[in-house]
Amino acid sequence: MTIEIKKKQEQTIIEIVGRLDTITAPALDKTINTDIADTKHLVLDVKGMEYISSAGLRVLLATQKKMQKVGSMKVINVCEEVMEVFEMTGFADILVIE
């Protein structure tokens, strides 16, 4: 998995490419909590993410909880397989998906 951080005005865009699984999820968690700890508006671009497991979902949930207190978070470019997982687990209702 690769993570790329882009700043665009007030928004911080994180592009995730590859698998967000048990092994890679801690890296994303660390990035969000250290590198962009002060961002107010987070955009997760998952265009290149074709795989997510519960470890990834856990990071997304934790981030969602944090961001909705300080600003906003949205997930964009969700592929079909990941969307299925979101829907299956109820995350489709929790996350702001565009």
């Binding site: 699984d21 048990t22 092994i23 074709e50 795989y51 997510i52 497991s53 519960s54 470890a55 979902l57 856990r58 949930l61 934790a62 969602q64 909880k65 909705q68 079909e80 397989e81 299925e84 997982v85 299956m88 687990t89 109820g90 209702d93 929790i94 996350l95």
Partner: protein, 945 residues
């Protein structure tokens, strides 16, 4: 009073024997032994009573007969006969030490007879049971009557002595014996808590008849006895009177003859002297012949000469009846003597006249006055009556005109009242007695007085009295009365017994026979027939009953046939409810049989697919048989199937089915069941057992074994029961055999059970035979074992064969260290394998997510204290397009599926971070199944592609 002691002894012995027989070890002795002992004991009492009695006319009055009667009537026929024999023989030999010989024969026979009679009556009349006390008394009385008659018969030579003896002995002997027997029976009745008097409603015909017959017999006996008494009394009076008349007439004739003869002689001599010398002095003649009067009468009746001057030529003999008799008589005969009677001319003077015809017509009459008449006769009268006897002790006495006795000795000239006869009115009026008189007459010899009967007659101025002692006069009456009363008692008693026995034989025994047969018929034995043919009425009754039974049998047979037909329909319906489309697929086959014991049974089996990869199967047995069991079975089967199809776990199916079956289960029926749900892809079986027999499991490489697990309670037995789930995993080639208890509990004619051992042995011998052949073979083996015995219970058998494709080329497995670091390797293995199966990418991703979740779970939690492995086997069923993942680890047992699913409807704030992994796996895969077997956690997941 002396008789009370043997009476009481008899009662005491009766009570003692009765209580001993009832409450002690004596009870256990054999019947005959008891009878002999009782016989000997009562024989002893009889012997004791024999010598312990009251002296009467030189012999002993006793109650010897009571003991044999008591023994025979109360305890039994043999005892009665034995004690009678002992008592009788004792009486016979007791003569050698001083007992009387007078009644020896009679007493011996009577005592033996008492025993025999008691024995016979008990057998014939009382159905070998103890009679009531009333009968006991009657039998004792009759027995004593026989005893008395025997005394008479054996002493006919001296009837009056026998009569005297019997007269005195009858009352004490009858009383003593009957009280002894009656009291003994009452005592036994008291101690056996019997009713004293029979309850009327409980009385049988025999008893009613006995009672009525007895009343009739008693009435008849009283009537005939009264009649006999009156008749005998009259006869005795007439006989006595006759005896008196003969005696008196005899005396009278002698007296009259003598007086007539004397006076006629005088008249003849006076006539001779008068005809020799008609001038002879008549008064001179009266002096010469000591007569009072001489009259010469002309043929016309006029007195021509006389010693009485006043009648000469003035008295016509025809003028008075007394004198006219002479005129009339002497016209036809030569002489005539008139009875002593009042004189015709002057009625106050008594004379006796005699007259003879004179040769030349007329007649001459001479007359005695009373003084002259009696002076002449008294001596003669004394001689005539002196030694005259009436009967044995009776006598004749003659009284003169003043009623003084004309006899010799001390009483001579004494008035009749001095011997005790107060002249009755008729005697005072000088009339002949018209009835029998009684008086206490003093015996001239010893001065004792006794009651006499007498009559009297006046003859020639004398009064003749004939008297006889009352006892003598009435002896014959009393003797014949007593014998006839005794004979009547005997006759009526015999009649009673015979009529009773006859009625019993002809009617009561037959009725009992018929009742007994009817009893068997009402108890359900319709094969018996009544066959009493001793008389027409019973023969027709028998025929009627038989034809009724035949008709009944026909109706029952018809009804049974109808029920059989209906049961046959019920059986069809029931059987049609059992599935017969036995699956014989590539991965499994099921074959089952249900053979009902009756037309419809309570057993059932069932199987159905719950999904493409799961199949449910069960065998069950409803308590009871027949229609109710069949109906309960239908309900149970339907409920279980409905619950199973709703997707419940097998133990929950049972828990819910139990609740439903308990509702309104008033008949208390229940069902045992063993149900399994097989995952065809994994061979994993989840099962529940509700009180059912353990199934048999055969591993592909092993033999049959009983799969014993802790069974739950029966279904429908109790509300609120919860059932556990059991699990096992079938490997390819494994067989699972379900059956009901009809198999091991099949019972042979020798009452042996087929048994689990025999079943196991049979199944092992035929372990690899196809189910479609194995089950019929098992049934045949059971039939062979059972033999002729009817099938007792339903027999149900179900064989499940698990044989999924071995899947060689499509199955692969790999073992990984259980650490998250190995995840990439695992996923690479999965992706590689799935690509080989041609699995679409999208599904691959989904599967990988699920595999990751499970693997991470194992890696994190399975081996808390070290490092372990996890083996992943992936199989692919090309035909069914399913992929099976089987992940095995040896870590701590943990069922990840038990964890509750997260609530995915909550908001982000409320959501927990954990629990999502397994949830995703569940959602992704088509089925997940966990088992813990042989120390391994096995999680099986199936995914369709």
């Amino acid at each position: 009073m002396r008789l009370i002691i043997p009476v009481l002894l008899n009662c005491a012995l009766v009570l003692g024997v009765y209580l001993a027989d009832k409450y002690t070890a004596v009870k256990k002795l054999p019947y005959m032994a008891k009878q002999v002992v009782i016989g000997i004991l009562f024989g002893g009492v009889s012997a004791f009573a024999s010598s312990y009695g009251v002296d009467w006319l030189g012999t002993v009055v006793n109650v010897r007969d009571a003991a044999p009667l008591s023994a025979g009537l109360i305890f039994g026929a043999p005892a009665g006969i034995i004690s009678g024999l002992i008592g009788g023989i004792y009486r016979w030999v007791s003569v050698y030490w001083g007992a009387g010989t007078y009644t020896r024969v009679a007493c011996t026979i009577a005592t033996i007879l008492a025993g025999v009679m008691a024995a016979g009556l008990r057998k014939l009349m009382f159905d070998d049971k103890k009679p009531t006390w009333g009968y006991g008394i009657c039998i004792a009385v009759v027995c004593e009557v026989i005893h008395m008659i025997l005394i008479f018969l054996t002493n006919m030579g001296d009837a009056s002595y026998a009569f005297e003896f019997v007269k005195g002995a009858t009352a004490p002997m009858m009383l003593g014996n009957s009280v002894a027997v009656g009291l003994a029976i009452i005592l036994v009745s008291l101690f056996s808590h019997e009713r004293f008097f029979r309850k009327k409603t409980a009385e049988g015909i025999a008893h009613t008849f006995q009672r009525r017959l007895l009343s009739c017999i008693v009435v008849a006996y009283l009537v005939t006895s009264t009649f006999t008494l009156i008749l005998q009394n009259g006869m005795a009076q007439i006989e006595t009177q006759e005896l008196f008349t003969v005696a008196i007439n005899d005396v009278e004739a002698s007296v009259r003859e003598r007086s007539n003869y004397q006076l006629l002689q005088i008249a003849e001599q006076v006539k001779r002297e008068y005809e020799n010398d008609p001038t002879v002095s008549l008064s001179g003649l009266t002096e010469k012949y000591d007569i009072k009067e001489i009259n010469v009468v002309a043929s016309d009746g006029m007195i021509t000469n006389s010693t009485e001057a006043d009648v000469i030529n003035s008295y016509d003999m025809n003028s008075k009846a007394q004198s006219k008799e002479f005129v009339d008589k002497l016209k036809v005969q030569d002489s005539f003597v008139q009875d002593y009677s009042p004189r015709g001319k002057d009625g106050s003077v008594w004379r006796k006249y005699a007259a003879v015809n004179l040769t030349e017509g007329g007649f001459i009459q001479v007359g005695h006055d009373p003084g002259q008449f009696h002076k002449m006769l008294n001596g003669f009268v004394i001689d005539v009556t002196k030694n005259r006897h009436v009967g044995t002790n009776g006598f004749v006495v003659v009284l003169d005109e003043k009623l003084c006795m004309v006899i010799d000795g001390g009483w001579a000239g004494e008035h009749i009242s001095s011997i005790g006869i107060i002249p009755p009115e008729e005697m005072a009026q000088r009339k002949t007695a018209t009835t029998l008189y009684r008086a206490d007459i003093v015996d001239g010899v010893d001065g004792r007085s006794a009651e006499y009967m007498y009559v009297f007659k006046f003859v020639e101025g004398y009064c003749l009295i004939a008297a006889m002692p009352q006892a003598e006069a009435m002896f014959m009456r009393d003797a014949s009365m007593l014998t006839s009363i005794f004979m009547q008692v005997l006759i009526f008693a015999t009649l009673f017994v015979f009529i009773y026995i006859l009625i019993k034989r002809v009617i009561i025994d037959n009725m009992r026979k018929i009742n007994a047969t009817l009893g068997r018929i009402t108890d359900g034995d319709l094969s018996v027939t009544v066959d009493v043919r001793s008389n027409e009425e019973f023969a027709s009754l028998s025929d009627d009953i038989n034809s009724t039974v035949t008709t009944l049998k026909r109706y029952i047979a018809e009804a049974a046939a109808r029920i059989d037909k209906e049961l046959e329909y019920a059986k069809q319906i029931q059987l049609s409810a059992l599935p017969t489309n036995f699956p014989d697929d590539d991965d499994h086959s099921i074959y089952a049989q249900m053979i009902a014991a009756k037309e419809v049974g309570g057993d059932f089996y069932d199987f159905y697919k719950l999904s493409d990869t799961t199949v449910a199967f069960l065998a069950a047995d409803v308590s009871g048989k027949g229609i109710p069991a069949a109906m309960f079975m239908m309900t149970a089967k339907t409920i279980i199937k409905a619950l199973a199809e709703s997707g419940m776990a097998v133990n929950d199916i049972f828990t819910a089915a139990n609740e439903k079956l308990c509702e309104n289960n008033e008949s208390g029926m229940f069902v045992t069941a063993w149900m399994g749900i097989l995952d065809l892809t994994t061979g994993h079986v989840r099962f529940a057992n509700a009180g059912h027999n353990p199934p048999m499991l055969k591993r592909a490489d092993g033999s049959f074994e009983y799969l014993r697990t802790r069974a739950g309670f029966v279904l429908g037995g109790m509300e609120g029961v919860r059932y556990r789930v059991g699990e096992l995993t079938l490997s390819p080639g494994d067989r699972l055999f379900l059956y009901t208890d009809g198999v091991p509990e099949a019972t042979s004619v020798r009452n042996e059970l087929y048994g689990e051992e025999r079943l196991l042995a049979f199944m092992d011998r035929n372990a690899s035979v196809e189910a479609t052949k194995l089950l019929p073979a098992l049934k045949a083996d059971i039939d062979n074992f059972v033999g002729e015995a009817p099938q007792f219970d339903d027999i149900t058998m179900l064989m499940l064969d698990y044989r999924p494709k071995k899947g060689g080329e499509h199955m692969t497995d790999k073992t990984f260290p259980a650490t998250t670091g190995a995840l990439s390797d695992v996923l690479s293995f999965v992706e590689g394998t799935l690509e080989g199966f041609g699995c679409p990418m999208k599904i691959q991703t989904a599967i990988c997510v699920a595999i990751e979740e499970v693997f991470v779970n194992v890696a994190r939690y399975a081996y808390p204290e070290g490092v372990g492995d996890m083996t992943l086997r992936i199989g692919f069923d090309e035909e069914r397009r399913t992929i099976t993942f089987r992940m095995t680890d040896k870590g701590i047992p943990f069922d990840p599926l038990k964890k509750p699913d997260p609530d995915i409807t909550l908001s982000a704030e409320e959501r927990e971070v954990g629990g999502l992994g397994i949830f995703i796996a569940k959602k992704t895969m088509d089925s997940l199944d966990y088992a813990f077997e042989n120390g391994e956690n096995i999680l099986t997941m199936i995914k369709k592609i």
